[in-house]
Symmetry: C2
Subunit: 584 residues, 2 copies
């Protein structure tokens, strides 16, 4: 018996260690039957990630190597610290968009300053996410509602798509601050389209769509096994990169037809370095970093959770923040830029059989080898092909069905979604999200400001009471039972008062009114004031006020402030049934 | 029978007319037994309003006549259009504070421009309130919660009090943007105090406090009737104005002791005129006008409502907006500045026996006579006395008890109040209110983001089910009844999922889970997605998911989107009792 407390303590410590270092669960006693899945998934994700990394760096306005560097250290760190067994971390389209719009709005003087800002951003995102995780405030992201997220992602897909038009048509279109300006600029530059570039990007997009939409079914028809077919459909980006590079190199298109190519990519490991600590830059970048931290985390946690539940694994939101924060630290010190868990690569990783964080670490190792040995191959890789990869990747993010579904379920949800979508397009990414969040809150408050109330009556000879307008129920003369279907708080307190007074005015012989509080989860002080006033008003009108089914936590507060004593203990009933028995 | 529709129509028209022209109710068939009350109340309010009007104009940074002009046309208009029989409209301390901080922040070049801006503000407030009333969006003011209002008013009282220190001590202290700067300035100028001025203001404050706190009881003890005593206690401002003016005039204090006086006040009617339509000024002033419109309306409606309920009269919030808006139009075209219903004057009006809008019209007539004949008397009226009137008037607005009460009832309400209070002092009036509103919303969302959930069981042999932790109840093996005490929406959807999954993990032999929705007033689409996911997760864990007591409006949506069909009609029970009967 004496040793038990000590044992318990050891147990707790090891639980805590395991919470913060999830790799203790799988690395120390690595189960070799997981190995083949991890290795295959690691390789396939690497094949996807090399072209995507370069493409997303281009989208983010960064040199190509930044996308590759961001795919090494962060993956190893997340692999060790993350609670998801299949999340594939790295550069993503949405975060890249946030980087280019954020840094772009600050007008950096040159590429060096731009890269510097991206590193600061990664460090800030790392700090914010790490702190959020350690302070266990991951629940804050729940304030980004489903409509806001879908509206934002759909708008981001459109913004990203149009941002690639300049690469697709091979024309140097200046970057603009607002989406509609981009549309105008594109219109004005369409006439200068480089036909060779357009052909190249057209071919790339066609091949990519073929891989994405048709190849799977074709391979299955040809007798290829489902798992191999699934792997092969993910090699589209690699295929178009190889074809595009060969076409440009073989036809010398970069010289004769002015086709833009990636050019020199430095070989070898990224240089380790501390991002600048310039206080002005830190201040200017902070709001952007905050947006990336929250949006990036949402993107990541939603895919991680949905896959984990399939395998009955558990995702710890706060530990995820710690792991993503640490991964961003890794990006900041090794020449990368902000990273998060990406939707499509994670699905590939999961389907290819990733069982542990080892898959991520294997991917990182392969990207490392690419950076050391293969960078010369990128020289003739045309930007048009990369733009094609981006456009096809984000095309799936625009979710028209979700708009219809939300609108059908509840117009206010549909409206939130559409407002966010439109706001992101019109006022820009960050303000757009803020507008969306504000709209979803205001719509919610508006809804609660005119709560549903129901006069209720007894169903047959049960003790159950329901709305007189929806059910066939027994009612009582001189006694009205009113159920209010909302917490009583400042936006609706006055409305309720007016409802009840109107009701009383319509029934001159009413003597008793019971407020059924089964749906009242909270009474705030604004509503308390109104309630006290209402009771006096009813008293003056000769109507006794009672309450029934007051919930425990609500009752506690009302007791403590003296409200119940003032009203009279005998005016509060445990159930509507008890109230009716007493008052009739 | 054939004529009935026509009759009905006439009836409706007259109802509509009466809604928009409430004076039709009392003026056309004026009941002469109301006359004495209206006349007496009209006179007493005028006696209060003359010194207050001049004092509040001083507080607002305007020439003294602006306060008098704002007490003529607006009172007549409100008297005809308002639904409150006793509301006393005119300049108030809080609106005057909003005017000086608002216009002051725009740095007008001279007094002419300052006065012009005040007229534009009145017109804008008129337009905003009129539109809000006609569009019937008066409910919007409910978003200003009780804690925000009390916090704001208490802070405003302090800001107003300290803004008068320069007049009380007779030193020219420059106006500052922030409250703490005012404190610093006062500290630096204390040494220059004009002793004669300080003596004058000291005497004024003492006399005013005597009238306010002691005179009533003294008069009653001397055998004066209660109603006369009540009237006499309200003459304090007039008394100190007369005494102050005589002291200054008799002792030539303005020359020998440098005591600041009101000086020339133009005699005669205000000049009619249209405020400037300068688009720039209109834009700059708009946010200030919006604040005044909302805060002024809140101030007015709350006192109007509380008095109307005493006499069982009805206040129509939207018609009140129309009437106040029209009153502000009146102020804008007759050289006034924004007006609203004032707390203290309204109480006086009510207690002195005001029965109809005629009382207001009589007050206006008396102010008109004052403006025509009595303005020369104001020349020697010392600013120190006016400042004393202001300080004593606002001293009652600081409500320390309300802070204690709110904190005792619920810390989050107390916190909202204190945050608003502090924000108004630190970041300024308008931003302070915004911060307060935002804080009250965020605190509300935070509260709903971790809803109270209760495992419930049957009470004795009733059909009533309550929390197992608060009541002695019967529970069932393999069946868990969980009641969630909150609408399911984006801030809490994920939390609920985690709660339920945790619960299931703790009970390995659980087969059926019933979500009791008696307190779920709404399920938004974010929560719907989580719910669908949760059902699959429970299914995989071998637990059947049921729902009970789903409210009508919630059920309608779930039916319509196909959720109920997917779950199975037999999984949804009308009552918890029915679910238990079926599942055990």
């Amino acid at each position: 018996m004496a040793t038990q407390p000590a044992n318990l303590e050891t147990h707790t410590t090891s639980l805590n260690l395991r919470r913060y270092l999830p790799f203790l669960d799988w690395l120390l006693h690595y189960d070799t039957k997981n190995l083949s899945g991890d290795v295959i998934a690691g390789i396939i994700v690497a094949v996807m990630l090399v072209p995507q990394g370069v493409a997303y760096a281009l989208l983010a306005g960064l040199p190509p190597e930044a996308g590759l560097y961001a795919s090494i250290a962060p993956l190893i760190i997340y692999g060790l610290l993350g609670t998801s067994r299949s999340l594939a971390v790295g550069p993503t389209a949405v975060v890249s968009l946030l980087v280019i719009t954020g840094i772009g709005s600050l007008n950096p003087a040159n590429t060096t300053e731009y890269v510097e800002m991206a590193l600061i951003l990664a460090l800030q995102v790392g700090i914010i996410q790490l702190l959020m995780g350690l302070l266990r405030v991951g629940f804050l992201v729940n304030f980004l509602s489903h409509p806001v997220l879908v509206g934002f992602t759909s708008a981001a897909a459109i913004v990203i798509g149009f941002s690639q038009v300049k690469h697709l048509i091979g024309v140097d279109i200046p970057r603009t601050e607002h989406f509609y300006e981009t549309l105008v600029e594109i219109g004005q530059h369409l006439g200068q389209t480089n036909i060779t570039t357009l052909t190249l990007s057209g071919i790339s997009v066609l091949i990519l769509l073929l891989f994405k939409l048709r190849l799977g079914a074709m391979l299955l028809r040809w007798g290829v096994s489902a798992s191999v077919a699934q792997v092969l459909t993910k090699t589209g980006p690699l295929v178009v990169v190889v074809i595009g590079t060969m076409l440009v190199f073989g036809g010398s298109l970069y010289q004769t037809n002015d086709v833009a190519v990636v050019g020199d990519v430095p070989a070898g490991l990224p240089a380790l370095g501390m991002p600048s600590l310039d206080i002005n830059l830190w201040q200017q970048l902070f709001p952007i970093a905050l947006t990336i931290s929250l949006v990036g985390f949402m993107e990541s946690i939603s895919v991680a959770k949905s896959l984990a539940s399939k395998k009955r694994q558990k995702i710890d939101a706060n530990q995820e923040l710690v792991a993503l924060g640490a991964a961003n630290f890794g990006a900041a010190f090794t020449g990368g830029y902000p990273v998060t868990g990406g939707l499509s690569r994670t699905l590939v990783n999961y389907n290819a059989g990733a069982n542990t964080g080892l898959a991520s670490i294997i991917t990182a190792g392969l990207i490392l080898l690419t950076v050391i040995f293969l960078t010369p191959l990128f020289y003739y890789l045309p930007n048009a092909v990369l733009a094609g990869i981006i456009v096809v990747a984000v095309s799936g993010l625009f979710d028209f069905k979700a708009f219809k579904h939300a609108w059908a379920y509840d117009h206010t949800d549909g409206l939130s979604m559409f407002i966010t979508f439109l706001a992101v397009l019109v006022v820009g990414i960050e303000m757009g999200i803020l507008v969306g969040v504000a709209a979803s809150l205001v719509l919610y408050l508006y809804r609660t400001s005119r709560p549903h109330t129901a006069i209720i009556g007894r169903i047959d000879d049960t003790e159950h009471f329901r709305n007189v307008q929806r059910h066939s129920v027994t009612t009582y003369p001189q006694l009205t039972l009113i159920r209010v279907d909302e917490s009583l708080y400042f936006p609706n307190a006055t409305y309720l008062e007016e409802e009840i007074l109107g009701l009383v005015a319509d029934q001159p012989d009413l003597t008793d009114l019971v407020l059924v509080c089964s749906a009242v989860n909270y009474i705030d002080i604004s509503a308390l004031e109104v309630l006290e006033k209402l009771i006096h008003e009813l008293h003056d009108a000769g109507v006794r006020f009672h309450m029934a089914e007051v919930k425990g936590p609500v009752m506690d507060r009302l007791q403590q402030i003296g409200f119940i004593n003032e009203l009279g203990q005998d005016r509060v009933f445990i159930s509507t049934h008890a109230a009716v028995c007493q008052l009739t």
